[in-house]
Symmetry: D2
Subunit: 389 residues, 4 copies
C-alpha cells in the first residue's frame, strides 16, 4: 500500500509513468534510506514518540533489511514506501510509526545526501589511485623528450614527464572542487518534512550528529530549494574530472596514430575491424573520449529540470536521481579504466627522440641572442629570417 | 568469437568497458539488423558471392531468428557479431560469408536507419492520436471562456477552444519537422563498408530498393560523417514535440492550482502526500514537465560526442545509440500519457466564467472608441485613465 | 514616449535593464518592421481604418525611413516605439493610427519572420558558393590519393576527391533541413495582436499576400506559443551547417600538422607566435573549429528561455532576438571564411602518395582471396596472420 | 605591427575573422594586462634582463597607460600587441624588451586571472548587499503568513519570513562555491611562456608575490590545459547564483498574478502593453527569469570549446574570453536589479492571510491525533477521510 493511499487507486498507465525508473534507481539509495531511518527512529525515541522497546524492534528489523538485497517492482512505488510497508508487515502497527515526523520529501533528500557522500569518497579514492599510477608512468619515462605543441604544430621541447605531470596537476585541482561539493552536500535536511517543517518538537541536531553531517540545514524550504542545486554542484565537480580524462584521451588518440607514433598500448587493449585485417584500434580510448565529451549531459539535465520551477517540492525532482547516480557510476568507471590504461601505456622512445627536430629549438636560439644583448623582438625576427631561408 | 578476432584476447576490464550498454541497446535494433542482413544476402547472391541455395539457407535462418527473442550478453559484444556467429553455428562456413562486402560500420548504420524509420512512424501515429483527442476536448468545451494571459497577467478574453487548438497547431508544425528528419534518415548507407567503399562489384541500389529506402547515400565517407548528424536532426524534431508537451504541462499545472482552478483531473490521476492528508497532486503532469524540460539532453549528448572529431568512423559513435533509443521511447511514452490526460481533463466552467473580469475587456473598449473616430493611441490612454480611477 | 505610457515613469535602473540590448538588436530588424508596417497600413486602409490619403502619407514616411540609417538609444526602448513615435512626429495624430489593430507582440513576430527569411536566403546562397568552391577543389585534385582513416588509424585507400565530396554531400543535406525551417518560418503572425486576436474586422490574409508569406498562422495564441520554437528550428538547421564546418576544420587541423602534412595554406593565412620565431599557425581554422564547437549555445539559450513557460506572450521572449541574430551572423561569416580557405587550400601530393602504405590494402587482399573461393572471415584471418609476421 | 610579424601580411578577411571581438573584449582586461606587465618588468629587472633605469622608464609609461581609456581597433589585433607597440613607440627599442621571457599565451592567462579575481570580489559584494536587503524585507514582514506549496498545491502553513530566508540560505551556499572558484583562479601562470616554460633563469615566485597570487602554477603545460577549466568552474559558480535568482523571479511572477496576489511592485517597476490599456506587467522580473534560465549558455559555450582538444595552447581558447566577461557582467547586473526589486517589493498581507485556508492545517491535525496515541499513518487516513466528506 502506498504511503499516501486514501482508498482510491491510481490509473495503471499513470502509475507506471509516475513510478518511472524509481524502482531501479531506488535500489542504489536503499541502504542510505535505511541508515537514515535508523537515525530517525532514534530521534523519535528521544522525543518520546517511540519507546525504548519500540525503537529496539524497529532497529533490529532495519539492520536485518540492510543486509538483504532489495528488489523493488513497479507496485512498490519507491524505496520509502517499501521500507514502511516492510516494517508494518513485520511489526504491525508499530511499523506505521516510523514515518512520524518526516515526509518522503526529506526522507529522499537525506538518503541522496548520504549516497552522494559515499560516492564522492569513492571518486576521491579512485582519483588518488589514478594520480599514483600517472606518477609511476611519469617517473618511469622521466628522461624521454616529447615535442611540445601549440596550435597542433611543433612549438618547443617538452617531455613525457611534463605531459604526464600536467594531468596530475589537473586532477589535484579537480579534487579541490570536489571537496567543496562534498561539504555543500554534507548538510542534514532531515526534519524539514515536506518543506515547511514538522509541527512537533523534534531534534534535527540529533540526526545531524548520528549521521555524521557537518551541519543542519535549518530552513526547511531551502532544503527543497537546494534539491538539484547541490546535485548540480556535485556533477559539475565530476565534470571537471571528466574534462581532464577527455584531454588525456584526445592526446593518446593523437600520439598513437601511426603519423605521431609516440605511444602505444599492448594488444590486449586493442580491438579490430570486422572488415580490415590489419587494424589495431584503441576503442577503449575513443570511448573515454566520447563518454567524457558527453558527460555534462547529466548536469545539463539536472539544471534543465530545476529551472523555471517555483519554490518548494515539485515532483520533477524525482528525475534528478538518475543523472546523479549515472554520473557517479560513469566517472568512477572511467577513472578506473584510465588507471588501467596508464599502467600499461608504452612510450616509443626512439620515435619521441626522432621527433625532436630543429624548429623546436628556435625560441631557445632567440633567447641566446637576447642574452648577448639583442632586444627579444629583434632576436625573434632574426631567427625567423634564418628559418625562412 | 568476435568478428575481428585474430587470436589474442581482450583485457577483461577493457572488454566490459568497450561493450558498454551495447548488449542492451542492440536488442532493440536486432530485428532491423536481421532484415538488413537478408537484403544484403540477396545482394550477395545477385553479385555472385552467394549461390541461390546458399541464399536460401541464410534467409531461412535469418527469418527464424527474426521470430526469436534475442538476449545478448557482454561476451556477444554486439548484435552484429551475434548474427554472424549464430549463422556460423547453424550453417558452418557458409555463415561466415554473410559479412562479405560489408563492415560493421555500414551494418550498424543501416540498422539504426531502419529502426529510426519505424520509430518515427510510431511517433507520428501517436501524435495523430493526441491531436484527435485534443480536438475532442476542444469541441466538448467549445463554449467555455478562459482569460487570456500575457506576462502571466490577465490580458484579453480567450477560450478553452483557442487554448486547446493552439497545441493542435503546434503539433502539426512539429510533424513537418519530423517529416524532414524522416526523409533525411531514409537514405541507404549499406555498401559504404568501413567508410571507404567495398573493393568489389556490389549493387547498393538493390538493397536501397529491397529495404524501401528513398535514396542511396553514395559517398561512403559521408555515410560515416552523417552519423550523429542525422540522429541529431531526428532528436531535434522530437524535441519540438517535447516542447509542445512541456507547454501543455506548464499550463495544466497552473490552471489546476486552487488559485486558478480552471481545470482538474479525476482522482485516479492524482497521487497524495505521505505527510499531508489533504493533498491531491498532479505528479503525472509534473513528470511530463520535468521530462520534457530535460528531453534535449539526448540531442545535447549526441552533439557533444560528434563535435571536434575527424572524418571517418570513430568508436565514439557507439554512444549515440542509447540517447537515440531513449529519446524515441521517452517521447512516445509522453505523447501517450498526454493523450490519456486530455481524454480525462475536466474543465470547471463556473470558475472559468467567474474569471472573466472586466479588465479583460479594456482593449475592446478602446477599439470601440477608435471606431467612433478617436486615434487608437488616444483611446488607449483614455481607457487606461478610467481604469486607474 | 513609450507606446504603453500612461503618465508615470519607469525607474531608471529598471528601464535600462528591461531595454537591455534591444536598442542594438532592433536596428537589425528595423527594415523588416517598416516593411511589415507598410503592409499593415494597407490592410488598415482596406478595412476602412485609414483613408486612401492617410495611407499614402504613412507609406511615404515609411519608405523614407527605410532609406535612413536608424540609430536607437535606450530611451527609444525598441524599434516598434521608435517607428510609431517617428510617424507621430512627422504626421501628428495620424501617426498614432498605425498601431491600430496590432500589438507589439505580433509586430515583433512578423519582423523577425521577415528578417529570418532574408537571412536564410543569404545562408543558402553562401552555402551554395561554398559547395561550388569545394567542388573546384575536388576536381583540381581529383587524382590524388589519401589514406582513409577509421579510429584515427590508417584503414583503407581514400582520395582527396572522396574527402572533399563528403562535405558537399553534407551541405546538401544541411540545406534540406534549412528549407524546412524556412517554410516553418514562412507563416504570417500579423493580426494575432497580443495573442488573442484583434476585436475588429481585419484581413490577415491581405498582409500574408503582401508580405509574400506562404500561409497565415491562424491561431493567435499559437503565434505566441511558436515564438522560440521556430527560432529554435532555424538555429538547429544552422547548427547542422556548423557541424559540417566543424568537421572540415578538424580534418584540416590534423592534415596540416607536420606529422600528417597532406595539406597546407599559403602564408597569408598563417599567424605566428609572439615567442617562437618558427611558428606558422592556422588560427583561422582553429577559430572555425572553436566557433562551430560553441555554435549550439544559441539554440541552447533559446530553448532554455522558452522551457517551463506558460502559454501566451512572456517578456522572456525578448531575449531570443540576440541569439538568433548572432547565430545568422556567425554562420554566414564562417561559411564565407571557409569558402576562402577552400579556394586557397593546397595539397602536398607527394606526402599524400607516400602515405599510401601497404596496410591500407589489406582489405583488398582479403577480398581477392574471397573471390578465389575462401569465405570472407577466413580470408580476413589469413591476411591478419600474414601482417602479424 | 604584430608581435609575431615576420614581414608578410595576413589576408584581410582572415585578419578580421581571427581578431574577432578581441578588440572589444580586450578593453576590459587591459588594466590587468598592464598591471601584470609591470610585475613582469620588475621580475625582468631582478633577473638582470632590464636595468633599474630601464625598469623605471617602462613602469612610468605603463602607469600612464593605466590611467588612459584604451580604444582598440581591428589592426591592433589584441591588447598584448597594443601594449608592446605602445611602449616601443614611446621608448624605442627598450619597449621591445618587455616581451622578454613571456609569451602572449601566459600574458593573456595572467590578465584573465586578475580580471576574474576582481570581478568575483565584485560579485561577492553585490551578493552580500542582496542578502542584506532580503534580510530587511524578511524582518519587515516577519509576521505575515503565506501558504506553503508542494506540487504547486497548498500544502502547509509557511510565512513570508521563511520564504525570504530560503534565498538568503541559498546565496550563502552559492558564495561557498564562488570562494572555491576564486581560490582555483588565484594561481599565477606567468612564466609558463607558450606552455613549455621559458629557457631562461626567471623568477615566477616574484610575480606571484607582486600580483598577490596565492600560489604559482608550476607546470607550464597545465597552465594551458587549465584554460577554460578554471573559467568553467567560475561560470558554474556564477550559475548557482543565477539559479537562486531564477527561483526568486519564478516565485514573484506567480505571487504577483491576480489569482495569487500575495506580492506587488510599485508602478515605476511596471511596464504596460501597447494594445491593452489595463496592463501592469512585471517585465523586469520576467527578464530576470529569462536571463537566468539562459545564463548557463556561458558555461555551455566554454565547455563546448575546450572538449576534444589536445594538450597545449589552441587558438580556440580566444573565444573563452567573451562568455566569461559577459557572464560576470550579466550576473552583477541581475544581482543589482534584484536588490532593487527586494527593496521595493510589497506584500499584500490581507490576501496572504485570506489564503491561509483550512487544508493547510490538515497535517497539524493528524499530528495532534498522533500525539494522543494514534500511529501517524492511521491519523493521516482519518484526517484524509474527514476532508473527503
Amino acid at each position: 500500500m502506498k504511503l499516501w493511499s486514501k482508498g482510491h487507486f491510481l490509473n495503471r498507465e499513470v502509475e507506471k509513468f509516475t513510478v518511472g525508473n524509481d524502482f531501479l534507481t531506488d535500489v542504489k539509495i536503499a541502504p542510505y534510506d535505511i541508515k537514515a531511518s535508523i537515525a530517525h527512529a532514534k530521534m523519535l525515541k528521544k522525543t518520546g514518540i517511540l519507546t525504548a522497546e519500540e525503537l529496539s524492534k524497529i532497529k533490529k528489523e532495519l539492520h536485518l533489511l540492510l543486509k538483504q538485497k532489495i528488489q523493488l517492482n513497479v507496485e512498490d512505488e519507491d524505496i520509502h514506501s517499501y521500507i514502511e510497508n516492510h516494517l508494518t508487515k513485520k511489526l504491525g502497527s508499530l511499523g506505521k510509526k516510523i514515518h512520524s515526523a518526516r515526509s518522503r520529501n526529506d526522507q529522499v533528500l537525506v538518503a541522496i545526501r548520504l549516497y552522494s557522500r559515499d560516492k564522492m569518497q569513492e571518486v576521491k579514492k579512485a582519483a588518488a589511485e589514478l594520480v599514483k599510477i600517472i606518477n609511476n608512468f611519469k617517473n618511469k619515462h622521466s628522461t624521454i623528450p616529447l615535442p611540445g605543441y601549440t596550435h597542433m604544430q611543433k612549438a618547443m621541447p617538452s617531455s613525457v614527464k611534463l605531459w604526464a605531470d600536467a594531468f596530475i596537476c589537473a586532477l589535484e585541482d579537480d579534487l579541490i572542487l570536489l571537496e567543496t561539493s562534498y561539504s555543500l552536500n554534507n548538510q542534514n535536511p532531515l526534519g524539514s518534512g515536506a518543506g515547511y517543517g514538522i509541527p512537533l518538537n523534534i531534534d534535527k541536531h540529533l540526526t545531524t550528529k548520528l549521521l555524521w553531517f557537518k551541519k543542519t540545514q535549518e530552513n526547511p524550504l531551502y532544503c527543497q530549494n537546494s534539491r538539484g542545486k547541490i546535485e548540480l554542484a556535485t556533477l559539475n565537480a565530476l565534470n571537471q574530472i571528466s574534462l581532464t580524462l577527455n584531454k588525456i584521451a584526445v592526446d593518446i588518440m593523437l600520439f598513437t596514430t601511426s603519423e605521431f607514433g609516440y605511444f602505444y598500448l599492448p594488444k590486449e587493449f586493442c580491438t579490430g575491424s570486422s572488415i580490415m585485417p590489419q587494424k589495431q584500434n584503441y576503442d577503449v580510448i575513443e570511448l573515454v573520449r566520447g563518454k567524457t565529451a558527453g558527460f555534462s549531459k547529466y548536469s545539463y539535465e539536472v539544471e534543465s529540470i530545476i529551472k523555471n520551477l517555483p519554490s518548494g517540492y515539485n515532483r520533477d525532482f524525482q528525475l534528478i536521481k538518475e543523472p546523479l547516480i549515472r554520473g557517479f557510476e560513469d566517472i568512477i568507471e572511467m577513472i578506473k579504466i584510465m588507471t588501467l590504461v596508464f599502467s600499461r601505456l608504452k612510450v616509443d622512445s626512439a620515435k619521441c627522440k626522432k621527433a625532436m627536430t630543429s624548429e623546436l629549438f628556435a625560441t631557445e636560439k632567440a633567447y641566446k641572442l637576447m642574452q648577448k644583448g639583442m632586444p627579444f623582438r629583434d632576436a625573434y625576427r632574426k631567427v625567423a629570417e634564418e628559418i625562412k631561408q
